[in-house]
């Protein structure tokens, strides 16, 4: 168990002369990910947001499979617009407990919120992965190839930036019909621009660094350099921006559903639930308040998490 020279022990251990450095401590390098995780764990807001978000996801995806959660599309014409925490007997004689009350058709608001959350979150995740895929590949290629092709590809991005996103999504969704998977693709297809710009900028600055020169001189293929060495090094900002894309995408979906162009009834998403609530706000405010609250809180947690991740992954950016 002798100290291996040449390896420098971690900084914190230096001051303590009596510390016995065994091999395990030495070999445990401090990777970027581990460092970032430590910094993130110290950020209470971000951690709370992370757990809150995980909780929401778990709630929306797991809870509906439990017995006792009502079918979100089950209507009870006789049990309309009940308040929260009421239970009532339906026409069939079943006793139904409404945790958050019922809507104008006697549907369970809580069940509908879980169900709607599932669609909203799914749109959030899937559309983000579409935009992530397009953006990272496009940006990495553009930055790596460089020269004329790069400026041509970026000019395309500039032009697309001037296109009002909403308009394109609306055209696509109305033209191709209101299929759910199309919503993912459409939103993803318009949300990749910033990602492409970020990745391109990073790749552009990375590719002239020595280690890329080194792997190139080792004879690695272009493609391998891109996906083994360039893309992993862009991960930090990409993760941060991805976290911030999810709420942006969910907002977009909600706006579309609010306008009646996204999720079609009887399916629901948080956006369409908010729309239903907004229409009946005067008579039954809880229809608006609960979906808006959970939607807002989810976006809130994601934005906080994104901020926290930015501080954790890129310590230089937060000078304060």
């Amino acid at each position: 168990m002798s100290c291996r020279c040449g390896l420098i022990p971690e900084e914190g251990k230096m001051g303590n002369a009596t510390v016995h450095i065994d091999e395990k401590t030495i070999e445990k390098g401090s990777s970027l990910g581990r460092d970032a995780w430590f910094r993130l764990r110290k950020n209470r807001f971000a951690m709370f947001s992370l757990w809150f978000f995980i909780g929401i996801v778990a709630l929306c995806f797991i809870l509906p499979f439990f017995p006792g959660i009502a079918d979100p599309n089950n209507t009870h014409p006789d049990l309309k617009s009940l308040g929260p925490f009421t239970s009532a007997d339906s026409m069939e004689g079943n006793r139904i407990f409404y945790l958050l009350g019922s809507d104008h058709l006697g549907r369970d608001i809580f069940a509908r919120m879980l169900y709607g959350g599932r669609i909203s979150l799914m749109v959030g995740f899937l559309a983000t992965s579409v935009s992530l895929g397009i953006g990272v590949i496009y940006g990495a290629l553009s930055g790596f190839v460089g020269g004329r092709i790069d400026s041509f590809l970026m000019r395309i991005v500039d032009i697309l930036y001037a296109l009002p996103f909403m308009i394109i999504v609306i055209i696509l969704t109305t033209m191709f019909g209101n299929k759910l998977w199309l919503l993912f693709v459409c939103i993803g297809a318009v949300e990749w621009l910033t990602m492409a710009r970020i990745v391109r900028g990073l790749v552009l600055s990375l590719k002239n660094q020595d280690f890329i020169e080194a792997v190139r001189s080792l004879g690695l293929s272009q493609w391998r350099i891109i996906y083994r060495h360039l893309i992993p090094n862009t991960l930090g900002p990409v993760i941060v921006y991805t976290t911030l894309t999810v709420p942006a995408v969910m907002r977009l979906e909600a706006i579309l559903s609010f306008l009646g162009l996204g999720v079609q009834p009887p399916d629901a998403s948080w956006g369409s639930l908010i729309k239903e609530g907004a229409d009946r706000m005067a008579s039954d405010p809880s229809l608006l308040i609960f979906p808006a609250l959970i939607f807002g809180l989810t976006l809130f947690s994601l934005n906080f998490l994104g901020d926290g991740l930015r501080d954790a992954l890129d310590p230089q950016s937060s000078r304060d």
């Binding site: 500039d158 032009i159 930036y161 001037a162 296109l163 009002p164 996103f165 909403m166 308009i167 394109i168 609306i170 055209i171 696509l172 109305t174 033209m175 191709f176 709420p247 907002r251 977009l252 909600a254 706006i255 609010f258 306008l259 162009l261 956006g271 908010i274 729309k275 609530g277 907004a278 706000m281 005067a282 608006l288 808006a292 939607f295 807002g296 809180l297 976006l299 809130f300 934005n303 906080f304 000078r319 304060d320």
Partner: protein, 308 residues
């Protein structure tokens, strides 16, 4: 001379971008299934043929495209199939002032609230005021327009009766709409301003200025402000694009007869020329904004002047 060349080349680029956008929308709209006359009642075949011939939809697509572009250059955006008897020019002329006033006043409100809040929070960094202002801004970002809009409508128009809900003519309902639009972006701008002001305030020249004994306020506004709002200026382009999206919601909630309403209807009814027309208006607005932003940025930041 350089600046004139720069401006001219930017105008050229914008026009080219507009051309591309028009072309893309034309083909996206025309290549998708469905047609303007398929909607509710099925017409007999011969009427369909006549209708299609009347609007020129029977010709091959490239021919239609050339026709359309030819007319467009002369300023004619074609007939609107969804609004019988109206040309697209009529529809747009009627409704664009609504969208324009809504968008511009929303942008002004966003800037008027966002920048001072951001500067103030940056000046009082890491204090209670900073945290509460930024917390508020975060709430503003997370509560989307379509939640705020019905709430404001309910409170100010229905309950308090300060505004006439769902009326554009002779009423001030658009103020509510503009406030709704502005609030969201003011939150965003406040965060942006705070971040970039902090970036600038931590730079050496600020410390130098302070150490020479210049008061904090003067440093804040004379030295830091100009650099600090550059990202905000750069954000104006995307903000306007977003405002247009938001204005769809606001127009729906407050029943304002703006372009957004027509656009959504046009998209569902396959009113091809109206779709193209609205896209042209929106895209030119955004392009004009981007152009302005670029010019202002060069003016704000002398370092950008060299490479144009």
């Amino acid at each position: 001379m350089d600046s004139i060349r720069y401006i001219l080349s930017r105008i050229g680029q914008s026009l080219f971008a507009l051309f591309c956008i028009v072309t893309i929308t034309f083909f996206i709209a025309r290549l998708t299934p469905g047609g303007p006359f398929l909607d509710d009642k099925a017409f007999p075949d011969y009427i369909m043929k006549q209708l299609n011939a009347q609007y020129g939809f029977d010709k091959p697509l490239p021919v239609q495209y050339v026709y359309y572009m030819g007319r467009l250059i002369q300023g004619d955006m074609g007939p609107s199939t969804g609004n019988k008897g109206f040309t697209v020019n009529d529809v747009i002329a009627q409704s664009w002032p609504v969208s324009f006033i809504l968008g511009i006043s929303g942008l002004i409100i966003a800037l008027a609230i966002g920048i001072p809040v951001g500067v103030f929070a940056a000046a009082r960094q890491n204090t209670f005021i900073d945290y509460s202002l930024m917390g508020l801004a975060m709430i503003g970002i997370c509560l989307p327009t379509f939640v705020i809009a019905p709430l404001l409508d309910e409170i100010f128009a229905v309950r308090l009766g300060w505004f006439d809900a769902a009326m554009w003519e002779d009423s001030s309902a658009w103020i509510l709409g503009a406030v709704t639009l502005g609030l969201y972006y003011s939150a965003y701008i406040a965060r942006l301003t705070r971040g970039s002001m902090l970036d600038v305030l931590h730079q050496d020249f600020i410390r130098t200025a302070r150490s020479k004994g210049i008061s904090f306020l003067k440093v804040l506004f004379k030295h830091a402000f100009r650099g600090g709002i550059t990202p905000v200026v750069a954000y104006m382009g995307p903000a306007l694009a977003g405002l247009i999206g938001g204005s769809f919601v606001v127009e729906t909630v407050f029943g304002l007869p703006g372009l957004g309403q027509h656009f959504i209807k046009a998209a569902t009814n396959r009113d091809y020329w109206l779709i193209n027309g609205t896209v042209i208006v929106f895209a030119s607005l955004i392009l004009a904004m981007n152009f302005l932003v670029d010019v202002v940025q060069v003016w704000l930041d002398p370092r950008r002047r060299k490479n144009g």
